[in-house]
Amino acid sequence: MNPEELHSLAEERREALDQFQHRVVVCTGTACQAAQSRKIIEALDGIVKERGINGRCTVSAGGCRGLCSAGPMVAVEPTDVLYQGVTPDDAASIIDSLESEPVKALTCDTSAPFFTRQKRVVLEYEGRLNPESIDDYIAAGGFSTFVRILTEMTSGDVIEQIRQSGLGGRGGAGYSTALKWSTVAKALGTTKYVICNGDEGDPGAFMDRSVMEDYPFKVLEGMMIAAFAVGAQEGFVYVRAEYPLAVKRLKQAIRQAEKYSLLGNNICGTSFSLKLDVRLGAGAFVCGEETALIASIEGKRGSPRPRPPYPAESGLWGCPTLINNVETYANVVPILREGAEWFAGIGTERSKGTKVFALSGAIVNTGLIEVPMGISLREIIYDIGGGIPNGRRFKAVQTGGPSGGCIPEQYLDMPVDYQSLAQVGSIMGSGGMIVMDESSCMVDVAKFFMEFCMTESCGKCIPCRVGTAQMYRLLDKISQGRARLQDLEVLEELCDMVKHTSLCGLGQAAPNPVLSTLRYFREEYLAHIVDHVCPAGVCKIAHEEIAL
């Protein structure tokens, strides 16, 4: 395929779509599917046929609209009407109102802050595209950036654009993407790999899942551009097996791209060749760590190894390897399409662009949101999220999953960027954001995350293997009201040691939920230990003799 062919294909497809006066797009994200959105598609299809308007109206599956708590969502194009809480029984009224006023009772107010306060770069298509159709993606301008780069730019140009954009790795740490790319580009060796880390394992995070499920082509295009920039000929998308839909759609997307010769040998008649494939995880959180992920792709136990050497130098099968997270790759196309300057204009001085968050917990609007870096937690929670339901009080917001921390009310006006979050003892992480109200016990939350880290520790290094188990035991003892003050001292000592001596990020960050809750909610620990009560009423306090 050359640029002209791609262009005409896009035109063709756009015309084909324009034939339809009405396009009804039903969200098939996980939440909406759980709410029977497949049945809604069937019902809508049935009505369309019944009314004999299938020449004018098309019903298709689309991606996530973000507002999962109001699902299932149905959108009507081009009038841009959005319906919420739709049931199969609503199909007739939706179809019958296409020519007139929208169905009032089902209309979702898209002028609400949930929609207007977001900034969509990664989720730019807002779920409108059929994720299983490369034609739809191409019609929306997809792959034109890749093809243009391939035929007009050099590897150095691409990396320079990424550098100017200020893009940081969206896997959590915000490490400069351009620096990573240029390291791999400069690394010696003719065989190089690109890997997309889709092993989203944080409990409470589903951003990457949505991106992979809804925009598989966009992720692939980002990887293709990256492969071109670093000089890789082969790549893998490593997806956790718990995401079967993402696996299916990515595999489908790769096959479709191969069919159009966007993947394969001598793409666009250039010397650039690329083969992409999907590899499945098998249920191990630690495989989100890049060296463990590589071991897993090599068919081994997912145990991390000490770095350096970094994968950029010696990664998959010992070759220079670029590993980026799903969301990072999904930012690549917009940056190179709209320009680095445009991207750098979004966000803050040191954290550029947007961040996708999975908003959940004690909050009115749960779902998937994308916001500019630097927005305050308060705006996210109260404006976009609609605040805390059931008249309860906000207590803390957890970011960064088992590697992050709980942020209390006093920091609600803090801007959300890599630096600020780190300052208050949490991390950006991959984007899980769980809001907790006063019914959550912070000791219990810390225990929950420690149990997670303990069972997900690979067991290779002593501090993480044993330390997480010991911290878990102590937290369990505290939560039961059976601990002594000395136990708290030992807990803090363990936190310090595990943080500074563990081999990989899992262990190094495992103490964070404990440290942050100790920092802001120490009185809750003391209540369990000294007064033998759980203020939130969550923990079961044991009344047997203490210390035994």
Partner: protein, 165 residues
Amino acid sequence: MRPRAAAPAAPSDDKRWRIVTATMRRHGFSPDALIETLHSAQEAFGYLDEIALRYVAASLMVPLSKVYGVATFYNLFALKPQGEHTCVVCMGTACYIKGSPQILSAIDEEFGIKGGETTPDKKVSLMIARCLGSCGLASAVVFDGDVMGKVEPDAAVERIRRWTT
């Protein structure tokens, strides 16, 4: 591809072995394909028994202990047969704070099974998921592949009871 003796014959004429062999062939019988192959064996047979592990080890020329190490490292591989029905309770953060532990204890009380266990009559397996990525649906439970959102303990027990009677 490494030089090798002829690939070992499938353990039996059960057609499902063809799926497993096909996966290995697609990867050129490379030892790197161990995880992909275990996935395909588990999909074909529901779990990984000793026969399957030995066959995969011999075919990919991976040491037995390494195969066992990999099969036990990853949560999704089961070395024992699963129940007729499976109930997966999400214990992600959002589900946890919205009451997944209560769902688990209700199921335990009613059917006597904890996470990872199967009822003695082999009807129901209870599993715990780390996070289904359906946090908007908290608490989420998957009953035989169907995700159900905002599940209360009673509703979960009721749904399982339908399988057992």
